[in-house]
Symmetry: C2
Subunit: 237 residues, 2 copies
DNA sequence: CTCTTATGCCAACGCCATTGACCTTACGCG
DNA sequence: CGCGTAAGGTCAATGGCGTTGGCATAAGAG
């Protein structure tokens, strides 16, 4: 029988750890984010997190059901950061564009964390708020329900998909040991033109890729398509 | 000093394992793919793989430098399957479209494997072949080198990004323990309309989402944009 | 002030990847 | 055909991991 986890808002007794620090969901998640940045996405372990927080690893289980639960909380924190300070203008297209870029940016700002969380459904507060916001923007703009759901799906999927991919290339260099990045200069650049002529001729340009994300362009394409859908039949089923 | 790994094509002595089976890179990767499908993306461990192959886990290190190296090989196998039997027609747009759909399909056919490998650069044979093919299609179509690299990047990124995302939703249900999927019916569906009116009204439609990928639509948008680029200035810098 | 119980701590379990030493047998060579 | 070598399978051990049940203690309700 696993220990029950007390939800953050129900916590009454705040007992300091042996070393005096007072734990909280917030503190744990923030510390985890810092550790992810510093030690890479494989560097987040219960033991190390306990070390960083000056508490026993098992104490974390009073706050999260397990490391997976903590992972979801980290993901939700990223979305929370994306939404912080965001205001709607009332122009659906501009609003969606800004929201997409914000979410993408929030993930890319924490690449190692993004890798862990980008393809998870957290069901937590901030994620719900983001979903609600996207749906409301579309409905208010006049999209029928069915179209709203379609555009919503494409929007969210595309945003998270690019976030994960862009995060992956950013996360790798500092991700301790391996160097997939180096393969671009090692493997790719020294391929013989005889067997791979197209890679050979493009190698110099390929090496400098990954510096700019294709997401903004893809996002604009998606919004174009949505706008076209809207003007075609705003009130149709 | 880690043990040296003999590349597959250099192997001379094929010594059967204690139980009589003869190992090979191919056999190991195929078995790993089967295990991934059956036990989920966390179910692939050296010990279990050894069990399935009737060999000591440490034997695997004669074929791969570590589990990570094996992971890359698995990813390359997926690309290999995508390319198998593929033929070019000479029409760049149709060829790229078919190639994208094939790669996407190959990943989605092995969701658990896709999750592990979609955002890794393997630098192995099949991946190189795919890159070469994409680049050649674009160059042959008349795209200048710079445009070729841009379109190539967007094409690959988008394909892998959607593959990873679509794989994620497919992988979860069977992925042993957790049920993020269930959150769509549990958390989302029972949200009060007071706090999340838009989610509430869309809940029935949202529950049936994830059944169809947004990738084909996104791919067409990308190809549209490329075609426009091409017709605008085929021979310009 | 007392009592309860939330919450931090400890020790232990079973799993994991990886390694170095060992051993056996397939193969290249004469 | 038979020998020597080293490729490649096996064993045992190491250190790290997540997670759990029991215990101790102090925070806060009354």
């Amino acid at each position: 029988m696993p220990k029950p986890v007390v939800p953050e808002e129900k916590r009454r007794r705040r007992r300091p750890t042996r070393s005096g620090t007072v734990l909280s969901e917030r503190l744990i998640v923030d510390t985890a984010l810092r550790m992810l940045r510093e030690h890479g996405s494989a560097g987040l372990t219960a033991r190390r997190l306990g070390l960083a927080l000056d508490c026993d690893p098992s104490t974390l289980y009073r706050y999260f059901r397990g490391m997976d639960d903590l992972t979801l909380a980290i993901g939700d924190a990223l979305i929370g950061r994306a939404l912080r300070g965001w205001r709607r203008t009332g122009q659906w297209r501009a609003d969606l564009r800004a929201l997409g870029l914000r979410i993408h940016a929030a993930y890319v700002a924490h690449p190692q964390a993004a890798l862990l969380t980008a393809n998870r459904v957290t069901g937590r507060a901030h994620e719900l708020a983001a979903d609600e916001a996207v749906l409301d923007i579309l409905r208010t703009a006049g999209f029928p329900l069915a179209d709203t759901v379609r555009v919503y799906q494409a929007f969210i999927d595309q945003t998270l998909a690019f976030a994960a991919l862009d995060a992956a290339s950013l996360a790798l260099p500092s991700d301790s040991l391996r160097a997939d990045e180096a393969k671009w200069s090692s493997t790719y650049a020294r391929l013989p033109a005889a067997t791979h002529p197209r890679i050979a001729e493009a190698a110099p340009l390929l090496a400098t890729r990954m510096l700019t994300s294709a997401y903004p362009a893809a996002l604009d394409l998606l919004l174009d398509s949505a706008a076209h859908q809207l003007s075609a039949g705003p009130e149709a089923g």
